[in-house]
């Protein structure tokens, strides 16, 4: 599932790939044919041009935590498809398809983990699962994870990869924004630090709620960070988007994030922040 930049190198776009995994993949940015194993070893960054490819939640977890330390939290029980929503495809069917394609239950994976020996509660979103969108299920998993972090007094780490709210759950999705902010307040009351890592994409209702109010906010190089998508902005306002708009660098320059870090250095960066923030005293 490659990330593509447009000709002006302005923003990136994801091509939802075929389910079969070929041995070779072509970098949509530079055209290079890359051996999949080589790409994997390079954490899905193009060895030739440095373009970022998409990471699934399990791959992201593996890239950040000590080997074998991730232990998933029990999934919440929720009522699915609360509105009985159907567009061209019934929402229930979209859900089961996403489950088959990703082997995940929802668009976020949360659990206990250790990062260089430091215990944390980690939640990682997965863009492959209906655009990483937040409905009741995602809201519930995130809230439970934060409550667990507050209770166990472990830092909460969230990796955002989400296009925003899940349209098929209507206003209930919108209100998950309030739910996760409410849970975030329990972290604050417990004095437990919260570190957000913004990746491609961090947009819409997730950025405008839990993604936007961490104690420390780190952007992965190659991230897209913004409230509204570039196309929506152009269509609604007719404004020309400046070069580098909504990139990680743009966010850093506008005071929206604390650091921009290449994928290969993310764990190191996280450890540096955690070493200072984690623990008592």
């Amino acid at each position: 599932m490659p990330i593509r930049r447009d000709k002006r190198d302005r923003y990136v776009e994801i091509e939802v790939g075929a389910p079969a995994e070929p041995l070779w993949v072509r970098c949509e940015s530079c055209g290079e044919l890359i051996f999949r194993r080589k790409l994997q070893e390079n954490q899905y960054v193009c060895p030739r041009c440095g373009a970022y490819f998409f990471l699934s939640a399990p791959e992201r977890v593996a890239s950040l935590v000590d080997e074998g330390s991730f232990e998933e939290l029990p999934p919440p029980r929720i009522e699915e498809d609360p509105l009985g929503f159907s567009d061209q495809v019934p929402y229930k069917e979209r859900l089961s398809r996403a489950r088959v394609e990703t082997n995940l239950n929802e668009a976020v994976l949360a659990g206990r983990a250790k990062v260089q020996g430091i215990p944390v509660i980690l939640a990682v979103m997965d863009f492959r699962f209906i655009g990483g969108s937040m409905g009741v299920g995602v809201g519930e998993i995130l809230a439970l994870a934060m409550e667990r972090a507050a209770e166990e007094r472990k830092p909460f780490v969230l990796v955002v990869a989400s296009g925003g709210a899940r349209v098929q759950e209507g206003v209930l999705s919108l209100l998950q924004m309030v739910k996760v902010v409410a849970a975030r307040e329990t972290l604050a009351q417990a004095g437990v630090p919260y570190i957000a890592i913004l990746t491609y994409p961090s947009t819409g209702g997730v950025l405008a709620s839990i993604g936007g109010i961490a104690d420390v906010t780190i952007a992965e190089e190659g991230a897209l960070i913004g409230f509204a998508g570039p196309r929506v902005i152009e269509q609604t306002t007719g404004e020309r988007l400046p070069p580098g708009f909504q990139t990680a660098k743009f966010a850093l320059e506008h005071g929206i994030v604390d650091a921009v870090v290449p994928r290969a250095k993310l764990k190191e960066e996280l450890v540096r922040a955690l070493s200072v923030l984690a623990g008592e005293g």
């Binding site: 919440p76 567009d87 409905g135 209507g170 999705s173 309030v178 902010v181 819409g204 109010i213 902005i233």
Partner: protein, 315 residues
């Protein structure tokens, strides 16, 4: 539950209250009045049978009661605060202080404008980052003074612009939600017209959420949903049905506490009547909330939003 079943339930409740009042010589007229209002709203919504799409059109009318004229009619001595104290002001989201029924409240509201000039200036009620940073500032002032907070929502959504992104509109919205959840006094949100996605929810994390009968509240506009999910904006009407964005649907989902009735033709046919209906509803809820100690208020507020959409929530 269908509308008719809900109606029967409410009517049974009202009968029960009347019986209790008579048997025990109690004054339950306030409770009864609220219930009767609900019943009337429900009746009309059932019998009028406006489609969700028709309500979307009503909610968007430029002459819908809202904005500054509404606030000036609603409360005595409205005093406006301007600016976010960082970079600027935003005419699309305004606020300040006023008195309702003799009590001081802080107010925040969207301004859509009625003339083309006003509409251009306030971007049809789409507030930018300054607007939400200003809202945060006004919430903080209100928190210091322990004033109840009343928000009046009518926006297509937050403004999607280059400047808005540069000034962290996402962070501003998130911060407003957080601030509302922590507000150390009662909070009431009223959706007067359009309750459009993030721009609406930023002001809606309240103890009580009320909606005018033909107002809408949605995660995305029907047109937006149609173009994303149906790949064709022509399906907007269908999307409006699927999104469950009407006051009646949201009341049934437990998202909204009260549906405030509108005159048969819609709120725009009776500006003062609409203001009065909203005043009565707001006063009723503020009075009820003011009896609760602060820790109880915050606990209930947390519970309400922590469990939204989870199994077992709702009326």
């Amino acid at each position: 539950m269908t509308g008719e079943e809900r109606l029967r339930l409410l009517e049974e409740k009202a009968a029960e209250l009347r019986r209790l009042a008579q048997e025990h010589d109690l004054d339950l007229s306030a409770e009864l009045a609220v219930l009767e209002q609900k019943i009337a709203a429900l009746k009309r919504s059932i019998y009028a049978e406006l489609s969700p799409w028709a309500r979307v059109q009503l909610a968007r009318r430029p002459d819908r009661p809202s904005g500054l004229p509404f606030v000036q009619a609603l409360c005595a001595g409205f005093y406006e605060l301007r600016g976010d104290r960082i970079v600027g002001d935003d005419p699309a989201l305004r606020g300040g202080f006023g008195k309702i029924g003799g009590a001081r409240v802080a107010l925040l509201f969207h301004q859509r404008g009625t003339t083309p000039e006003e509409q251009r200036q306030s971007r049809f009620g789409m507030a930018s980052a300054h607007g939400y940073w200003k809202a945060r500032r006004i919430m903080e002032v209100a928190a210091r003074l322990r004033l109840p907070l009343l928000t009046l929502i009518n926006t297509p959504g937050a403004y999607p612009g280059v400047q808005a992104e540069a000034h962290n509109i996402a962070g501003a919205i998130a911060t407003c939600i957080w601030q509302m959840l922590r507000h150390p006094a009662p909070t009431v949100a009223v959706i007067l017209g359009e309750g459009g996605s993030g721009g609406a929810v930023a002001l809606a994390a309240a103890d009580r959420v009320l909606m005018l009968e033909n107002a809408t509240y949605s995660v995305i506009s029907p047109e937006g949903a149609a173009s994303i999910l149906w790949k064709d904006a022509k399906f907007a009407e269908k999307a409006a049905e699927n999104l469950k964005l009407t006051a009646q649907d949201l009341w049934a989902l437990g998202v909204v506490d009260e549906v405030i009735p509108e005159p048969p033709g819609g709120a725009h046919t009776d500006f003062l009547g609409t203001v009065e209906a909203v005043r009565q509803a707001v006063l009723h809820h503020l009075r009820e909330l003011s009896t609760k100690p602060l820790d109880e208020l915050l606990r209930l507020r947390y519970k309400r939003y922590r469990h939204v959409g989870s199994a077992g929530s709702g009326h």
